[in-house]
Amino acid sequence: MEARQETVEIPEALKVVFARLEEEFGGRLLGSSFFRGELTFTVPVEDYIAVLKYCRDTPDLAFERLDSLLGNHYPGRKEAPMEVVVHLTSVSKNTRLRLKVMLAEGQSLPTATGVWPSADWDERETWEMYGIQFDGHPNLIRLLTTEDFEGFPLRKDFPLQGTVGGRIRTDLKGKI
């Protein structure tokens, strides 16, 4: 699912980001793309936390903020159907960066809560919706759905109406 490459000139601030990341991680980055003014890097699982820390701590990049962390599911991709997408924002430099990690089914990812505490609920949501495990997460329990919910709703094979029939969509036994 590679994004279409564009011939638009990359802005100066993003060129710096591109150069610094290429310089530091070089051949280990799995790919990059530029679409609609947004820079995307695909990062291997083992370098994931290192890249996040590097982006946050390097003064040239200064990505102070994790804008969002989310999962995605591509059932067609047999070897790596799961994906975690991270958006970083630099308030001081006014730049954005997208990082992607591709994961095999059942493969886990180290938690980013040590780098940005705001990743906490995002990771819980990603786990709840896609079943992607985050190693070292302090409290990986269901966030938005009920505790006895079964299945991972945002996976493509999960039906929109859920697996519990009827109008109540849940089993109220023992709850009321």
Binding site: L144, Q161, G162, R167, R169, L172, K175, I176
Partner: protein, 213 residues
């Protein structure tokens, strides 16, 4: 009709509901000696003050009084709650009808306006709040989400609040305008005046029926 009080409808389950036995004072019986069948039925159809049967006229008087001070529960779920607040606000001014005193505690409320979609996570809480409201009580389902689930035909939204609790008045709209809610509350007032409830004739509330209680 209405001889057995639905299980779980009220916080107070003493008296008639627990035993299923009717207690009528001798004075009332005496007053009913020469009454017509309809009058007797009206007098016996009296479950709201457990253990005491009231003459029909007193019930009418109570209904009249209640209809001018129906206090809803301060309970907002989603978008419709904003319109409910606007209805209580200065332009629509619900206090003209004695309905603006929204009680934060279900124990002091006369009913609830379910304003918004009810999720599976919220469903047990809605049922609990409903059951904590003492009898008699009335429920208004405000907005399409509370009526039918609206566009949220998804894994985590209850498809209509009447799958959980008996509803007296449905106010359609997404969200209903304050005028619509006002109209709904006027309809509710008629019901309150006549002491009619959505739970009349129900053995138990739908949520408990669904789990086989």
């Amino acid at each position: 009709m209405g001889m057995t009080k639905p299980v779980g409808l009220g916080a107070d389950t003493s008296g008639n509901a627990a035993t299923g036995k009717l207690e009528i004072s001798h004075a009332t019986l005496a007053s009913l000696k020469n009454a017509s069948d309809a009058q007797v039925r009206e007098a016996l159809d009296e479950e709201h003050i457990p253990g005491v049967a009231l003459p029909a006229n007193l019930e009418k008087l109570l209904g009249f009084g209640r209809s001018f001070s129906w206090w809803p529960l301060l309970f907002g779920l989603a978008c419709c709650a904003i319109e409910m607040m606007a209805t209580a606000g200065p332009r629509y001014d619900l206090s003209r009808f004695g309905m603006e005193a929204m009680r934060a505690s279900p124990r002091q409320a006369d009913g609830m306006i379910v304003a918004g979609w009810c999720t599976t996570k919220m469903a047990p809480r809605v049922v609990r709040l409903y059951e904590q409201i003492p009898d008699p009580k009335w429920v208004v389902a405000m907005g399409s989400c509370a009526i039918s689930g609206n566009i949220w035909n998804t894994y985590s939204v209850v498809q209509g609040i009447d799958a959980l609790i008996p509803v007296d008045v449905y106010v359609p709209g997404c969200p209903p305008r304050p005028e619509a809610l006002w109209e709904g509350l006027e309809m509710l007032r008629d019901k309150v005046k006549q002491s009619r409830h959505a739970y009349d004739g129900l053995r138990t509330i739908p949520a408990r029926a669904a789990i086989g209680e």
